[in-house]
């Protein structure tokens, strides 16, 4: 409800009403497709990098259509910094936990049945870590390049 009010207040921000309506329809589909690619990375082509790029593209889509205020309500700059660092630390933690099974990056979890959803041990967790790193990093890259300003230091 709150976001809806903001959208109505900022009628001048962003693009025309056609673009806004189409974006409101398609943004959920893009997000769902990205989550599907992310979670099925061990069964089909895709994985953390591709899923992260698609999910971030949905946020960039919101920013291009509605302006930066609406997009920053959904994903803040400081939060995306926290997500990026969390992704790197999570990936390192999974790699170090491999010492439980013997060596670095050992798949210590239960492998399960092949071709099932829960089947690949630590691969799903690694994909989610890579998604956090790549998605938040790409979003930060976009907003840094768009709102680039030299803050008085020379």
């Amino acid at each position: 409800m709150k976001e809806h009010k903001v959208k109505n207040n900022n009628k001048t921000a962003g693009m025309s009403i056609i673009v806004k309506t189409i974006t409101r329809l398609t943004i959920g589909l893009i997000l769902l497709y990205g989550i599907y690619i992310l979670l099925h990375g061990h069964l089909t082509p895709g994985g953390g990098f591709a899923g992260g790029v698609i999910i971030t593209l949905s946020f960039i889509h919101i920013m291009l259509a509605f302006g930066k205020d609406v997009a920053f309500q959904k994903l803040n700059k400081s939060w995306s910094k926290i997500f990026e660092s969390t992704g790197a630390l999570l990936f390192l933690t999974i790699a170090v936990l491999g010492f439980l099974g013997g060596s670095f990056f050992t798949n210590f979890m239960d492998k399960g049945e092949p071709f099932e959803f829960l089947s690949a041990g630590t691969i799903i967790l690694s994909n989610i870590a890579i998604f956090l790193k790549v998605g938040a990093g790409l979003f930060l890259l976009f907003i840094m390049l768009v709102f680039f300003k030299i803050g008085g230091k020379k």
Binding site: F115, V134, M144, L145, I150
Partner: protein, 111 residues
Amino acid sequence: MTYFLSFILFSIGIYCILTKRNILKIIIGIAILDYAINLFFILIAYRTNGRSPILEKGSTIKRIVDPLPHAVVLTSIVIGLAVTALLVAIAIRIYEKYGTFDINEIKELKG
């Protein structure tokens, strides 16, 4: 024979880097060079009549393409993205400091 295509693309990238004076065109040349090398790796990985190296339920492995260069190229694409973003950021800084993208007019870099 098919490798010749990626060599042509590589030469276009080298030509673009060496002869153009605009920084943005140099960045585009570096990107073309990146893609030429990626294409070369993918062409090396191809086997005749090979299918994609994905196991599915009930399928048997007969002839698949080599999956190792695919993994290497995936990493290479990520690095190419980061390098392009770094170059664009440097280009923006140069434009804000000198007001031009022409590398001939940036006098303070010389000497």
